[in-house]
């Protein structure tokens, strides 16, 4: 660019100029001396002839300066001076914008972190996961993975991983860890390098159980091994099996799943040692959590899908019993396919829209404040116009003020949101899972905040433009700023109505959400989370072999029962509404060909101990409970829920004694019927068929003990927890256990509703604050404009009511209009909310009444001070003033 060197050239230019002028005056003086003048007189005359040297030198220099930039600088300084004169206005404006822009930045950063930004691995944008069939199953079986890996022509390597939990024993206290079982090529495919030692390699895989190696994540190494570089080569025990630590992965690598970061990685071929399931070669057993790889350059996801689907057709033909879905699609990795993504995305987009509305409302608010300011400054503007300033220059000045405020507000909002986001990214809402919410802001977020600030500055800066362009300096200087037409609908009125409507929408929807959440806490879950404690243990982690598990489980149950204050104890493989649940296809008794497409339903499977229903508080409606006699040596039985009875057995009445089939052909007899409940971690789920099987017939080593306390647990769950730990230690000191009250555990299930309600609540409060400042601004302005008129009215004997009506009638009319529009819109909008917040219904008299009351209260609060001011008008003082 041209002007960069010219800046450095300036010094020389200016030096030359001064020198030249000095020589000029000198030459003139010498000539005058030659004409006979004294030196002193000659020098004086020379200077006189030259003119104002300083001024001329400045003028000459100005030629080289950048006029626009420098006049913008002047505008900026003027704007700062102007703003410093009204600190209250500036404060309100900056806080309003900081909140609005901050809210937008936070929501955008979350959206950016979860959806827009690729996973934090090299070339993350070409990384895809595989989904199978119309149901978009992302979980695959290991033999299918091997076929897909070896036969595809679309990926530069296809990696697999699964999530496993294990008990780790480093010689000290046993601890519960979460890890990935990864394929040998996992790190190669992702392009991850070791921080220390080496990573798992394809050559490590030599059949099941062949690679007892551990690669630690940097975070786990840092927190649990205190950055000990000698950790490589050490042997630790996972579920009592020796594993050797071979390396540490790069610090910024947290696995390939957003939300969840593992503690370390082990080869997937060794998963049997950790899970106890020998299903590495079972094609029908789908447990590999996700397959992913980099698409080859130049290939589209559609081409890759076609390639994979042809492999799918081959597998379907070769293994008709296990593989009946041949089509494959690709999906962005990180959120486990389309499992969580659509709901979260819909919610975030909705939130983004609401946050956008907040910003628009804030701009409308500030726009009317600015218009009021511009009207108050009518005299100043008129004077400047009369003195020859151009209208563009005055508008530029107003815009400079607007943009300055919006940038300050944006900066404040960004600082706040960055702080919030950093806290959010290290947040651990669930004590069991290591979480990783990668929402820390990046350049995208900063750009969006800057753009939003500039845009809002222009948006509210543009409001007074019309007013300034229309103003006639002659009229204003003559008449003063009070001579304005009334009764006409102004831009400011419309803005205020729009703003109040938006705020009413926000207030209504947050109320709907809060009310929905409150209701969902008192819904019937089909079990009783109050006064119950959950104890999670995995006997596999303590090295119990399959045949020893049932006896140990009974010992644990008996030990828990002996704790004073515990009324009943049950055991379940995974409690309802916990993350992760068993599912199985079920078939009617008449079905002979047991392939997935013939299934009567997919039922949720619980493996329970006899006393589970009592401990969980689930009502047995008919038939009998399970007992310890229902073991391997008697025919298979189950207790089912009403929904199961209706869908698979035909009716509730015929359920007891009825039969159905499992995918492996086992006939199950139904012996009992229980009430329906909520089973998956989703409050809004529709009734699901569920079956409860005796844990002696369907063994599981990873189980949850349910302890029902016979008194109020809320006061002191710690005491019970200590007792539980003591009993467990007595049974086996090497068994890691995780304890939580059931109500705490429920937080996981309620998490989405809670988050939704919290964010909507925050937005609702923001909306309420904005409407207060908006109405206040409008009311205060209209009172101050009409003080003289009000004074005259009072002098002529107007009553308080009449004065108030004159001063605030208009503000109240606008408030009523905006609120009505907003309530209506809000009720329409909250239909959408019902998808996220369970039991959120807009047709709730309490919500309606609450929203109306809130708006009335807001109006009263906002107009209180202006009303007081209007009433305290002293006509004498006022009339004397002008």
């Amino acid at each position: 660019m041209n002007w960069i060197p010219s800046i450095f050239r300036r010094d020389k230019l200016y030096g030359d100029l001064s020198e030249e002028i000095r020589l000029h005056i000198e030459e003139r003086a010498e000539q005058l001396i030659g004409e006979g003048l004294s030196r002193e007189e000659a020098e004086r005359q020379a200077r006189l002839a030259f003119g104002n040297r300083t001024l001329l030198e400045e003028r000459s220099r100005e030629v080289w300066q950048w006029p626009t930039l420098e006049s913008i600088w002047a505008d900026l300084r003027f704007a700062l001076r102007q703003l410093r004169r009204s600190p209250g206005f500036v404060f309100v404006a900056i806080v309003t914008l900081a909140l609005a822009i901050g809210a937008n930045a936070v929501v955008f950063a979350v959206l950016n972190g979860l959806f827009l930004r690729p996973l934090n691995v090299p070339q993350g944008q070409s990384l895809y996961s595989l989904q199978r069939g119309n149901e978009k199953y992302i979980v695959q079986s290991y033999p299918d993975y091997l076929d897909l890996r070896d036969r595809n022509r679309s990926f530069n390597g296809l990696a697999a991983y699964t999530i496993v939990q294990a008990g780790m024993d480093t010689g000290k206290d046993p601890s519960h860890v979460w890890l990935y079982g990864v394929s040998g090529n996992y790190f190669d495919v992702l392009g991850i390098h070791p921080y220390l030692g080496r990573l798992i390699q394809p050559a490590d895989e030599r059949g099941p159980g062949s690679a007892p190696y551990i690669v630690l994540t940097w975070a786990y190494w840092h927190s649990h091994f205190q950055d000990d570089r000698n950790v490589v080569g050490r042997t630790v025990r996972l579920n009592k099996h020796p594993f050797t630590i071979i390396g540490v992965s790069q610090p910024q690598f947290h696995g390939t799943l957003l939300f969840f970061s593992p503690d370390f990685f082990v080869p997937i071929v060794n998963q049997e040692q950790l899970t106890g399931w020998a299903d590495l070669n079972a094609r029908g057993s789908r447990w590999v959590f996700e397959l992913l790889g980099h698409l080859k350059p130049g290939l589209t996801p559609a081409q890759a899908s076609a390639d994979l689907s042809s492999i799918g057709s081959y597998m379907k033909a070769a293994y008709p019993k296990e593989d009946d879905q041949s089509s494959f699609t690709l999906v962005r990795p990180g959120l486990h396919g389309d499992f969580f993504a659509p709901a979260i995305r819909a919610f975030l987009v909705g939130l983004m829209l609401l946050a956008g509305l907040i910003l628009v409302a804030a701009c409308a608010n500030l726009g009317s404040l600015f218009a009021a300011r511009a009207a108050d400054r009518g005299r100043e503007v008129a004077l400047r116009l009369a003195l020859g300033s151009s209208r563009t220059r005055i508008l530029r000045q107003l815009f400079t003020e607007a943009v300055l405020i919006s940038l300050l507000g944006g900066a404040a909002g960004l600082v706040g949101s960055v702080a919030l986001l950093h806290r959010l990214s290290v947040w651990q809402p669930f004590p069991q899972f290591p979480m990783n919410i990668p929402v820390n802001p990046d350049a995208n977020v900063y750009w969006v905040a800057l753009l939003l600030s500039l845009a809002s500055g222009f948006l509210f800066g543009i409001v007074p433009v019309h007013q300034v362009l229309q103003s006639n300096p002659y009229e204003i200087v003559k008449a003063g700023s009070a001579g304005r037409l009334r009764g006409r609908i102004t831009v400011r009125d419309i803005l205020l109505v729009v703003q109040i409507a938006i705020c009413a929408v926000l207030v209504t929807s947050s109320m709907v959400a809060v009310r929905g959440l409150a209701r969902s806490m008192h819904t019937n879950f089909g079990f009783e989370p109050q006064n119950a404690m959950l104890v999670n243990t995995d006997l596999g982690m303590a090295g119990y072999s399959e045949d020893k598990v049932p006896a140990m489980q009974r010992r644990m149950i008996d030990a828990m029962k002996s704790i004073p204050g515990v009324s009943s104890v049950g055991l379940v493989d995974s409690p309802p509404m916990h993350m992760g649940w068993g599912l199985s296809d079920v078939f009617t008794d008449k079905t002979t060909e047991l392939k997935p497409s013939n299934a009567a339903a997919e039922a949720i499977l619980f493996k329970i101990s006899p006393d589970y229903f009592r401990a969980a508080g689930t009502a047995l409606l008919a038939g009998r409970n399970l007992s310890w006699r229902d073991g391997m040596d008697v025919p298979r039985i189950a207790v089912v829920n009403r929904e199961f009875a209706n869908r698979i057995l035909g009716s509730v009445n015929n359920a007891i004694g009825g039969h159905y089939k499992m995918p492996d052909g086992t006939r199950i007899e139904v012996v009992g019927l229980v009430e329906d409940g909520k089973y998956t971690a989703n409050l809004a789920e529709k009734p699901q068929p569920a079956m409860f099987m005796p844990i002696l017939q369907m063994p599981a080593s990873d189980t949850w003990l349910v302890l029902r306390a016979n008194r109020e647990l809320g006061r002191d769950p710690q005491q019970l927890a200590a007792a539980v730990r003591g009993k467990l230690r007595d049974l086996d000191s090497g068994l890691p256990a995780f304890l939580q009250t059931w109500s705490e555990e429920m937080n996981g299930a309620l998490f989405p509703s809670r988050m939704a309600t919290m964010s909507l609540g925050v937005l609702g409060v923001l909306g309420a604050m904005l409407s207060i400042t908006g109405i206040f601004g409008m009311a205060a302005y209209s009172v101050s404009k009409r003080l003289r008129e009000l004074g005259i009215r009072m002098a002529l004997g107007a009553q308080r009511r009449e004065v108030l009506q004159a001063a605030l009638g208009r503000a109240f009319k606008l408030l009523a209009l905006g609120s009505a529009a907003g309530l209506l819109l809000g009720l329409l909008a909250t239909r959408l909310l019902a998808f996220i917040v369970y039991q959120a219904t807009p047709r709730d008299p309490l919500v309606l009444a609450g929203a109306v009351l809130a708006m009335v209260l807001l109006g009263l609060v906002a107009t209180w001070i202006p009303a007081q001011r209007a009433l305290s008008v002293d006509p004498l003082i006022l009339l004397r003033e002008e």
Binding site: H24, L56, S60, R61, E62
Partner: protein, 128 residues
């Protein structure tokens, strides 16, 4: 006629229309290169001292010409053995001068026609 509100008009052309000083400087330099002091002398002499140009006002004009690359400047020594900065007209300066002279002549002619043949040049009342 719209008049640009340039700083120069405030002092330098209290008695001149904008651009006049630059035009005269270019014309002088076309005849021969000169330094600032010599230019002032030249313009005053040529105008028979009718144009009382404030000497200093020459310099902002010279800087504008320099910036527009219509003239170039060089330090040297004058015939009277003084250190001087000599200005020289450039090729584009010559072209600009021709354009300005012709447009000036047309304007002058127009103004003269509008007024009357007896009263030749009260142009300044119209301008600024």
């Amino acid at each position: 006629m719209p008049v640009e509100n340039k700083p120069m008009t405030k002092t330098a052309s209290r008695d001149l229309f904008p651009g006049a000083l630059e035009m005269m400087i270019l014309e002088s330099l076309r005849r021969q290169p000169a330094h600032g002091y010599a230019l002032v002398q030249h313009i005053q002499q040529r105008s028979n001292n009718l144009l009382q140009v404030e000497e200093g006002s020459l310099y902002p004009a010279l800087q504008r010409l320099l910036k527009a690359k219509l003239v170039k400047a060089e330090w040297g020594v004058s015939a009277t053995n003084r250190r001087v900065r000599t200005y020289q007209i450039t090729a584009s300066g010559l072209r600009r001068l021709e354009q300005q002279i012709s447009s000036f002549e047309r304007m002058f002619e127009g103004i003269a026609l509008v007024l009357n043949p007896v009263n030749p040049l009260p142009a300044r009342r119209n301008l600024q």
